[in-house]
Amino acid sequence: MTEISANFSSMQPGLNTLLSRYGESMMWLARYMERIENLARLLEVTESFVRGPDGQPGWDTILQINSDEECFYARHQSVTETDVVTFYVTEKENPNSIKAMAHAARENARAVRPLISTEMWTQLNVFTGWVLKLQPSDIRLDSLYDLCNRLKQECQSHFGITEGTLYRDQAWLFYLLGKYLERGDQTTRLIDIRYHTLLPGHEPVGSDIDLTQWASILRSAAAYHAFRRQQPVTTTPANVVGFLLKNDAFPRSLSTSLRLVDNALSMLAGHGSMRRLCAPIQERMAELRATLADQTVEDIIIRGLHEYMQWIQIQISQVQQETACAFWPVTPHDSIMHAQSQQ
């Protein structure tokens, strides 16, 4: 893959001195930026295409995807477009809002500022500065499309600048790890949101409203036209799910994301004493990828798509935790300091 063209055998020795704290911040910088982009897609697509049974935009689906119902209802009475959009864009108290995530991305970038390129920092600084100043009054629902588009493009600028300027050392690999773990996680959440229409006894698969829903899912993953090329004739929910889970050529599919996580891990493992640290994580990834490769999409649906998506999400979260344990372990000294600061 071109994403990981860096070849460690050609790198100088002595580069395995990446501070643990830097590794952690690089990973979270990528995760937050990827999450912001995905959320912006989701908001845009919901506004334009997602309709509930009553024909109204399905704003409650977004809350379900992100498991945010509790947090939302603690602060809002009802699910209106204004409430949901505000909740996800400007409410800093919501840790999953774009504002909160932009803040987190910026603080992580601040920590790795000695490592990242000036161009990366400058773009991120201007972007997050803009987001942090956004007020509910700045969000016009009739131009939500423009807002979401700008958010997406700013994230894409970030990824592009990173691709074009970030030095290829371990910092880059942790960045990739974060980016693709997050992308994989987001894709499973997206699919999960429509799983119930696949349960037996629901409206017949293939009805008009159903197809619009599935097309909208493809759109929120930027997959619609790629899917059309691969499946010019038949759109079935199984085809759509299969495409998003298992298509190795589509950049946002689960299989692609997991492969790229695995690639990043292999690169890390190839670096001296890191092999031992990477091995257990690689094992988990191998199992994860095998379950995806060894089942057809029909198998997955029959056995329970929702359960499988949740299992994947748990596995991804395990990979995150194991990465943390391996590369930025909490030492006894840290826990003492932590305990003291809590008193």
């Binding site: 643990s20 704290r21 640290l277 600061s341």
Partner: protein, 490 residues
């Protein structure tokens, strides 16, 4: 344009048409000597700018500083506010001859300070010989017991020194203050130059300016030179208090320029009296630390036990010679405002030379004569508390009201040992873009000296400018800005 000019300014004078500074030495316009051709050239080029153009470029500078994040961050209640240090687009110029003089003077000063620090932490000959009162040194709050008898590599205590220079009415350079602990501001020297070359390429084109690009390289080299003996490839790190420190940008800048990791206390660990950093591949040894933390926060085991910023065991590792800390601990004795008064004598004592750069005449209120003189001349003097920095807590006699003088008199009499006094110096000025046009504002200069096996001085330094009319206080915390400093190569 409908507005007819109310008067016809001298077209050749341009933005300097109304500029007039008879009472002060002006770095650009009133040098009381025939200006070298390059300086005359800069004057002519500047005069061709319009005020509107200068303002336009100033605004562009501010936008760029925000975007690039060349800012100091003020944190309050979860909010992070980025502020920029105001940048003036008219450079401050130092001629080649002036620079040679400053460079030699700063090198001499650093050499004397290092010899002084070695002496007071070893034989204390200077105290025995009665050159400086023993109490002033040994009871100084910055005197560090942990340094007694410790031999530091190369005898270097002050690896990075910032010397604050001012010029009097005749243009003579005077040392106002030494900064021998963790002097800051060097990132602005280099960033100001980059800014200037982006914003005013037409002003700088073809001029013989000394480069400021080498700082990171020289600093890294010097730190390697003073690393513990026997280490072939020493690992240097920069120790910062972290992202919440207002100077974090400078820490990032220096780490990047040196190509070394920027670490926080929690990234370092001491095992068996050796220092390591926590990396993704486990612990890796560290041999030299450029620290931007004050002494008291460095090691909770040795100093402030509540410090969360430091590294437990660091001082013991240092004492055993396993790591170099730059600057060394306890260097604050040398830049103390009371010790400052003795610096000319300290230079003569160790080097048997006259000071190349003079000091400002200083009266030590701890001494009866000094106190009597100060009390009798309060309205003519600047009176400074010896422990403060950043321009806080000082009295400028000629600018003070009767009530302020009376109040300060009490403070002085209550605790004379806390004060020194100096005559008011008519600081030199430099043309500066102000709301009303280009006006004279007072400036100072902080050259940075880096010492490993030898002392290297970055050509130029930080020129700070007091943006308020008539103000003599250039500190950024008190309404100061900065200018690019151009040292002419010829």
């Amino acid at each position: 344009m409908n507005d007819a000019p109310r008067h016809t300014p001298d077209q050749t004078a341009g933005v300097f048409a109304a500029y007039d500074v008879p009472d002060f030495f002006c770095e650009l316009m009133n040098r009381k000597e025939i200006a070298p051709p390059t300086l005359q050239n800069v004057r002519d080029r500047l005069a061709r700018f319009s005020l509107a153009d200068l303002r336009h470029r100033t605004n562009a500078a501010e936008t760029q500083l925000y975007r690039l994040g060349i800012t100091f961050t003020v944190y309050s209640d979860k909010e992070a506010i980025d502020r920029v240090l105001p940048f003036d687009v008219i450079p401050r110029i130092i001629t080649a001859a002036e620079w040679t003089h400053i460079e030699r003077g700063v090198q001499q000063r650093v050499q004397a300070i290092n010899l002084f620090l070695h002496d007071i932490y070893h034989d204390r000959a200077i105290l025995r010989d009665g050159i400086i009162p023993a109490d002033l040194v040994l009871k100084n709050p910055n005197y560090c017991e942990a340094m007694v008898g410790l031999d530091v590599p190369g005898g270097v205590y002050v690896h990075i020194n910032g010397t604050d220079l001012i010029r009097d009415q005749s243009g003579r350079f005077l040392i106002l203050e030494d900064n021998a602990r963790t002097p800051s501001g060097v990132s602005y020297v280099i960033e100001n130059r980059h800014m200037m070359l982006r914003l005013m390429p037409d002003l700088a084109a073809g001029l013989p300016l000394r480069s400021v690009e080498d700082y990171g390289l020289k600093l890294h080299q010097s730190l390697r030179e003073v690393s513990p003996k026997g280490v072939l490839d020493p690992q240097v790190v920069l120790l910062s208090p972290g992202i919440y420190n207002s100077a974090y940008f400078e820490h990032v800048f220096l780490a990047r320029e040196m190509g070394v990791p920027l670490v926080e206390g929690k990234d370092l660990v001491v095992e068996n009296h050796r220092v390591f950093m926590r990396t993704v591949a486990g612990l890796r040894p560290v041999h030299a630390i450029y620290r931007r933390l004050n002494d008291e926060f460095l090691d909770p085991l040795a100093f402030n036990p509540d410090s969360m910023l430091g590294v437990p065991g660091l001082v013991e590792a240092y004492r055993r010679g396993n790591v170099t800390i730059a600057n060394a601990l306890g260097t604050g004795v040398a830049d103390d405002k009371a010790v400052y008064a003795y610096m000319p004598r300290i230079i003569r004592y160790y080097l048997d030379e006259e000071p190349i750069l003079a000091s400002v005449e200083t009266h030590i209120c701890a001494e009866p004569n000094g106190l009597a003189y100060t009390l009798a001349n309060m309205d003519k003097l600047v009176i400074k508390p010896v422990g403060e920095s950043g321009g806080y807590g000082l009295l400028i006699g000629p600018h003070a009201t009767q009530a302020e003088l009376a109040e300060f008199r009490h403070k002085l009499q209550d605790n004379p040992g806390n004060y020194i006094s100096q005559p008011v110096i008519n600081l030199s000025v430099s043309p500066t873009l102000c709301p009303q046009g280009v006006e004279a504002r007072h400036v100072d200069l902080r050259p940075f000296a880096v010492t490993g096996r030898s002392t290297w001085v970055l050509p130029g330094g930080l020129s700070r400018v007091a943006l308020r009319k008539g103000s003599l206080v250039v500190n950024s915390s008190q309404g100061g800005g900065s200018k690019d400093t151009w040292v002419l190569a010829s």
